[in-house]
């Protein structure tokens, strides 16, 4: 028997056959920390449950059908399972991305995933229902053109990302405002260009590569030294996925929270007290587990005088998902909503006056779910503190 695994059909999945076998015959000790499994409480939603289906499809044990393919989309790409997995090569989200690609190639992908791909092709972003047109950044965010100088003469390009541009304009504006307040001479692209990760989640690697290539070229063309992103997903794609695709952006890529922590440390931002007395910080999954940025957002909050930061029980790398990743909300909206409600409950238990986070998709999802707590991006809180503050004189 080949060490690399059994013969699996499906081009994408076959490359991962060893990891798939490990997961498929594992007792699934990660399952308790899978948000979809917690919400759905079905064997098919547990991490190994999904991988076993991928195995059966690829082995030909199970006929390909839209009904079965739908189950491959019950993964929020939160990477919660990886913390408990003894196999470094097993990444359930990557296995699901490959299995989705095979499903889409076989013509069995769910309509909702195909709609995301259509939106990406037509408008360059995945939110056709909210914004049926390309997203102009010039008017909504700020100056465009070649990247300009920042701290230590960095040439800074600010990338809001599709979610902030389409669904959370306040986040884009706050980051733009905070950069300006710090004296960073920044630019953005004239038009929002998707990083490609929604196409990967949908199961269309060709579209992902096309979108990623377009954005990488645009960044390279503008001559930025530093790319500041609003979205952890964009930062993850640019720093971790693009090298796998053979793409280089030729710039340092940093999430705004980490960049803001640098601006505070060098005295470029001087926050004052604000009206929000306490906040609980929600660690977005990608931010905490993929980018390992858990201290930086907290350092920014800690720099705001008088603001008490409370902690959720599930935090840092053991944070819990908001339910919106991996196109779960598009394909399995009820599961995504249940996950969001559960996470809101956990955040509310911290007893703070507001929720602060660093992912526009988390913000949109949590704010859309019924909650009495206001939800802010870190940049909104920071900008309020540097632009005025409650004790501003």
């Amino acid at each position: 028997m080949a060490e690399e695994g059994r013969l699996l059909s499906g081009e994408r999945v076959a490359a991962l056959s060893k990891a798939i076998e490990y997961c498929a015959i594992c007792p699934n000790m990660c399952r308790f920390d899978c948000p979809v499994a917690r919400a759905e409480r079905s064997e098919s939603a547990a991490p190994a449950g999904k991988v076993r289906l991928a195995y059966m499809l690829a082995r030909g044990m199970l006929a390909r059908s839209p009904d079965v393919a739908g189950y491959l989309y019950r993964c929020a790409d939160c990477r919660g399972c990886e913390a408990w997995c003894p196999f470094p090569e097993v990444k359930v989200a990557d296995i699901m991305a490959a299995a989705r690609a095979d499903a889409l190639a076989a013509g069995t992908a769910p309509e909702a995933a195909l709609a995301v791909c259509d939106s990406l092709r037509k408008y360059g972003h995945p939110f056709a229902a909210a914004a049926p047109e390309p997203l102009s950044l010039a008017a909504a965010v700020g100056p465009t053109g070649d990247a300009a100088g920042g701290p230590a003469s960095d040439r800074v390009l600010f990338l809001p990302g599709c979610t902030a541009a389409a669904l959370r304009p306040a986040t884009s504006r706050a980051i733009a405002g905070a950069l300006t307040a710090a004296g960073v001479d920044w630019r953005t692209l004239p038009r929002q260009l998707c990083c490609g990760s929604p196409a990967r989640a949908a199961g269309d690697p060709a579209l992902e590569a096309e979108l990623a290539g377009r954005l990488a070229a645009a960044i390279a063309d503008c001559g930025a030294d530093v790319v500041v992103t609003a979205c952890p997903g964009c930062a993850e794609a640019l720093t971790m996925r693009y090298p796998e695709l053979g793409l280089a952006v030729g710039a340092r890529v940093v999430h705004f929270a980490a960049y803001a922590a640098e601006l505070l440390a060098t005295g470029r931002l001087q926050p004052r007290a604000i009206a929000v007395p306490s906040a609980v910080y929600h660690d977005p999954c990608t931010m905490a587990r993929r980018l390992a940025l858990t201290d930086e957002p907290r350092a920014v909050l800690a720099a705001i005088p008088g603001l008490t930061t409370r902690e959720a029980r599930a935090r840092g790398r053991e944070t819990h998902c908001c339910g919106a990743g991996g196109l779960l909300g598009e394909v399995w909206p009820a599961a995504a909503a249940a996950i969001a409600r559960a996470r809101l409950g956990e955040l509310a238990d911290a007893g703070a006056a507001a929720i602060v986070t660093t992912c526009p998709m988390c913000e949109y999802t949590l704010a859309q779910t019924k909650t009495e707590l206001p939800v802010f991006d870190l940049a909104e809180v920071l900008l309020a503190a540097v632009a005025g503050g409650a004790d501003d004189d």
Binding site: M1, E3, Y22, I25, N28, F32, R52, M61
Partner: protein, 482 residues
């Protein structure tokens, strides 16, 4: 077209699926009944290791006709009444971590996925009881208790992938069982839906003298005598102190003797594990003082002053038997790796048969059981490794946990059967019991008569009385065959 094989064929005569589905939907609603292939296949197996071999080879044990997700004891009762009336088999399913095929839906029918019953129903801090629903995941249960300042004291290796109902149905044991007990000691009260659909509620009391205790009969029923839906479990305040110790001995004999004497003096470390020479080498290669020896690890926890005393007395007895102190590090290593079962996956992928066989015997027999059982397994052609550790201890004896790895020289099933026959034979010859905490399921069913003697007939009559139509988890627990 689907091309998976099933190891066990469903019966030819079955109730009309459309009629059953309509009635199930009337009870739980249309969204909590499924006939989708993906859902049915997901519960077609548990973690019986041989099913991993089968699965990689394109086969699943058996597929149910329906998956149903009840949300209350009353819903379970209604589903079971329906199944009893229509003679439809019912298999309860938690999180599928059982290792003997107990959750395999042998005759098809309804698999009752219990995971939607996962609420905490009450906490009695004065009596130290918590009442929960049976589908609650073990890790989430323990975390909930920890947040409230308590521990459930029940941490099986499967804690992250098993449920409270599964623990009770299989008479589970946690790694900290010497202090806190097995689940039968921890369980104070129980709610069970009988095979004819009545709800039996056994209230939580410290002890009682009221005739036979129903919860003790239903405990360990593996779903054959009813469906566990709720339980009241004993809990403990989070320990204030914890001490980690390890000692190396020349062979398992003196290590067992040290532990026997420690328990005889009334000491109850939470964790007591003795690894034979093979397992010490495999699991603790960096402990040079234990090279070629048997390693004992101890973890004492609880009130600080009591823990100090337990530590002092344990040390006295360990040193008196020639034990060499190896410090805290081996215990830390065990704590860090105790949920890692990845080695079995590596070996199964290479075509090996891997299994774990846990048995128990009194002190007077346990060393002989260890020797005879591992020798008998090694004597079966194809066995590469049969090594053991003593994973749970009591004042009167211990549990021996043997790990098997073999490459079948001929057909897989033939080798598997031969090695199990050899192992169980050695245990039974020496007066031990064939299972300490994994249960019977399918794999051990054929040994039930040897285990129980004629008493197995009594158990079968009980089964016939409470489940006249034989609907509850048929084919398990050796209730049908010798």
């Amino acid at each position: 077209m689907n091309a998976y094989r099933t190891i066990y064929s469903p019966p030819a005569r079955r109730a009309d699926p459309e009629a059953v589905r309509a009635e199930l939907e009337a009870i739980v609603g249309p969204t909590r009944v499924s006939t989708a292939e993906a859902e049915r296949l997901a519960v077609a197996r548990d973690f019986w290791p041989v099913t991993c071999n089968w699965f990689l080879d394109g086969a699943v044990p058996a597929v149910p006709d329906f998956v149903v997700w009840p949300e209350s004891t009353d819903e379970v009762a209604a589903v079971v009444r329906l199944a009893n009336r229509l003679h439809v088999p019912v298999t309860p399913f938690g999180e599928g971590s059982g290792v003997l095929g107990g959750a395999v839906p042998l005759r098809g029918g309804i698999t009752l996925d219990m995971k939607r019953m996962n609420r905490v129903l009450g906490l009695d801090e004065r009596s130290l009881y918590v009442t929960v629903e049976a589908g609650l995941n073990g890790e989430l249960y323990e975390r909930w208790l920890n947040a409230a300042g308590y521990t459930g004291g029940h941490i099986p290796q499967s804690v992250r992938c098993s449920t409270v109902g599964g623990w009770i149905s299989c008479r589970a044991a946690g790694q900290f069982s010497t202090k806190y007990g097995k689940i039968e000691d921890i369980m104070a009260g129980l709610t069970v839906v009988t095979p004819t659909g009545e709800v039996v509620r056994c209230k939580a009391v410290p002890r009682a003298s009221t005739g036979p205790r129903w919860e003790q009969l239903l405990l360990g029923g593996e779903g054959t005598l009813g469906v566990v839906t709720e339980a009241t479990l004993r809990i403990w305040p989070l320990p204030a102190a914890r001490v980690l110790r390890s000692y190396a001995f020349v062979g398992v004999g003196p290590a067992l003797e040290a532990v026997r004497l420690i328990l005889r003096r009334g000491i109850r470390p939470a964790v007591v594990r003795i690894y034979d020479e093979l397992e010490t080498g495999r699991n603790f290669p960096d402990v040079t003082a234990a090279e070629g020896k048997a390693l004992l690890i101890l973890l004492c926890e609880g009130d600080r002053r009591l823990v100090e005393l337990e530590d002092a007395i344990s040390a006295e007895e360990a040193l008196a038997q020639g034990g060499v102190a190896c410090g805290e590090e081996p215990v830390r290593h065990w704590l860090a790796t105790r949920f890692d079962v990845s080695l079995s996956s590596h070996m199964i992928r290479k075509g090996a048969v891997v299994d774990t066989l846990e048995v128990a015997a009194p002190w007077s027999a346990i060393a002989t059981v260890h020797r005879d059982m591992t020798e008998a397994m090694m004597a079966v052609e194809g066995t590469l490794v049969a090594s053991g550790h003593f994973s749970h201890v009591y004042p009167d004896g211990a549990c021996l946990y043997v790990t098997l790895c073999g490459f079948p020289p001929g057909d897989l099933e033939g080798y598997y059967r031969a090695v199990w026959d050899a192992a169980m034979g050695a245990v039974l010859r020496n007066g031990g019991t064939i299972s300490h905490h994994h249960g019977i399921g399918l794999q051990r069913a054929r040994f039930m008569r040897q285990e129980h003697g004629d008493a197995v007939e009594l158990l079968r009559r009980v089964k016939q009385a409470v489940d006249p139509n034989g609907i509850m988890n048929p084919g398990k627990l050796g209730l049908e065959v010798d």
